[in-house]
Symmetry: C2
Subunit: 426 residues, 2 copies
Amino acid sequence: MQHIVIIGGGFAGINLAKSLANNKDFSVTLVDRNNYNFFPPLLYQVATSYLETSSICYPFRRFLRGKKNVTFRMGEFKQLKPTENKVVLSNGELSYDHVVFAVGAETNFFGMENVRQNALPMKTVNDALELRNYFLQRMEQATRTTDPVERDKLLTIVIAGGGPTGVEVSGVLAEMKKKVIPKDYPELSGKGFESHIYLVDGGPKLLAPMSEKSQVDTLNALTKMGVEVKLNSQVKDYKDDIVTFANGDTVATKTLVWAAGVTGSVFEGIPQESYGRGRRLIVDEHNLVSGFSNVYAIGDTCLQSTDKAFPNGHPQVAQVAIQQGKLLAKNFAASVTGKPQKAFRYNDKGTMAIIGWNKAVADIPKPKLHFKGFIAWLMWLFIHLISLINYRNKIRTLYNWTSAYFTRDQTLRMIVRPDGEPPVKG
Amino acid sequence: MQHIVIIGGGFAGINLAKSLANNKDFSVTLVDRNNYNFFPPLLYQVATSYLETSSICYPFRRFLRGKKNVTFRMGEFKQLKPTENKVVLSNGELSYDHVVFAVGAETNFFGMENVRQNALPMKTVNDALELRNYFLQRMEQATRTTDPVERDKLLTIVIAGGGPTGVEVSGVLAEMKKKVIPKDYPELSGKGFESHIYLVDGGPKLLAPMSEKSQVDTLNALTKMGVEVKLNSQVKDYKDDIVTFANGDTVATKTLVWAAGVTGSVFEGIPQESYGRGRRLIVDEHNLVSGFSNVYAIGDTCLQSTDKAFPNGHPQVAQVAIQQGKLLAKNFAASVTGKPQKAFRYNDKGTMAIIGWNKAVADIPKPKLHFKGFIAWLMWLFIHLISLINYRNKIRTLYNWTSAYFTRDQTLRMIVRPDGEPPVKG
């Protein structure tokens, strides 16, 4: 029996583990620093108080019940010792026959230390809760301050990054500004203030990988909703409540949400030459990391240029991770039975982004179709709902969405933090 | 128009604010250090992962919508300046015509510094989340450790305090030990270990204020479920993973849950002579604090000996707080219209505690009745459900309870903490 260690239980890792479950040729250890899997496409709804954490999270141990050859290990990757076939975790070591890196990507601050310290990223559940607490605290401060300049800064939000996360966050915030804020913060009415929601991107387009129709629809919809979109505007610095752009423009704000880019992680024990563009691990068509015979990488953390349609590597999206996880499991099984291994080919099922209530965009590659508005929104809801990891999450989320749809509101705006008094960042 | 400042939005404060809403003679500011009201009787279900936070919490601002004369202010009480009719908060000052203290009670460690540092209290939502994270982390550690002595300590839990909280927590944990742990932590099976759940109390009885029948039923039920009840066992110290009792007995454990007592808070600006037993503020029959003409206290934080049936003060329970909050609102209204004020009389509607699935005890004073088992359990569920603050909370909780009832399980065992890597206490 061969022992496979999977580092990371996101889309890639969990699909690999699931597909290897109850395969008698393998024992599997799934390692994650959290004890739960979560659904990143809905993080922005946790951050904006539209969903509770439990709607998008599921404990690994519960998920692995009945999968007798798969063990969960909570711990953080520290080092690979390839000559000993061992991984060192924050709390011990594991021996492996095969090790698979499936840790996803991390937020890229592009070396801007002030941005790293003062902006709010949106990659993890902790980030999303931090952001929720932060938004709500800023609103409370705005009700208390007597300084109008300070109030404007508290009520202005800059979201950097025109990808799906940036579009989704700015859309929700624009709707909350209209529907929720006047009702919940009556103290603010009558006090003159300037409250802006800026969505900024260094490039010339929103949702760059989508069709031009989707890009234009999104820009128009967001603008109509009151989001001020600034394209070709690269953030250069953020300190003393001032966001500075490459062209010298500035915006005064207490809140910079950072969804402007991701990068791969550095893994101690993997040599420099195994990393490619975006610090992703270079892998062959079977997801074997360059320079190794039993170290693999799948999902956002790898760079595979063997897929003819994607010579510069795949987009870092959920579908690639899921498909790579499933195929790697098949290839492991094939290696035991002596069957030939299959090369990975990405089957692109389409891309979508939600902008607001009844508003979304969707591109389907085969046949080439573009949807927008209510239909795209329904598609988005349906696909995200069925993608949730288990039945409980689906029910919970459906209930939350249904009631939010009818009330255009939610009741989750609690500043909750398990270790006492919330600190204030920035 | 008179300005009433209410410090604390628990059962007492929120009922006072609600009863004063839309009364044109008063403007009201409700101050709380959190931005949400919560339902303490169900905290233990949050701590044991049976309910999510959002089931028992509700944002004040949402609650106060449409109550035009009531404003919410997030902040912590720092000081009373009675000569200036001002309260100083952590983030500003408020002037008042009347100020009402409704802050509840806080955990009493009886001066034992080691217990304060190493034990886990159960009074706030943050406490409950801390406890949940802590339980789950201890289980993860138990699956990893190779030291059998360490494993026993990780899997043994001591709950101090035989009141409703202690009974409820130990009951849930005993059920989880039987139904959930073997399925979620298969690594532990086969490894010999001693796992104990101790419920300890310094007095001779569990649920001391309840009827003897209820006390005996509870003791029997818990014992049958595997809880080891140690009465007349006062905790004297807790350090280096050892709980030491007054009689010299010790238990080795990494987890001491502290539900053994409460105390009133100290309010800067209120003189020593206004405090009574348990550091509660001495009030007259109209809840006016002794020595003041416009400072009031209601709920757990006050001590009222003018109610004939309760010459030593009322029990510190929700019903007293609710009734005092409502009556004080009526008395404020009466003071304006010149009607006579009413003295507070507590109407005891009964006491109940839940022990486990299908098991609870309930005492009703008029007519004197005792219920146990399934009927008491249904009563408990029903009363707690209708007591939740709003419709959303009720639906959410009903759904959680129903699914938990049928599966005897929940899917909320996530270690979530908004500021990164969970620290380990103790």
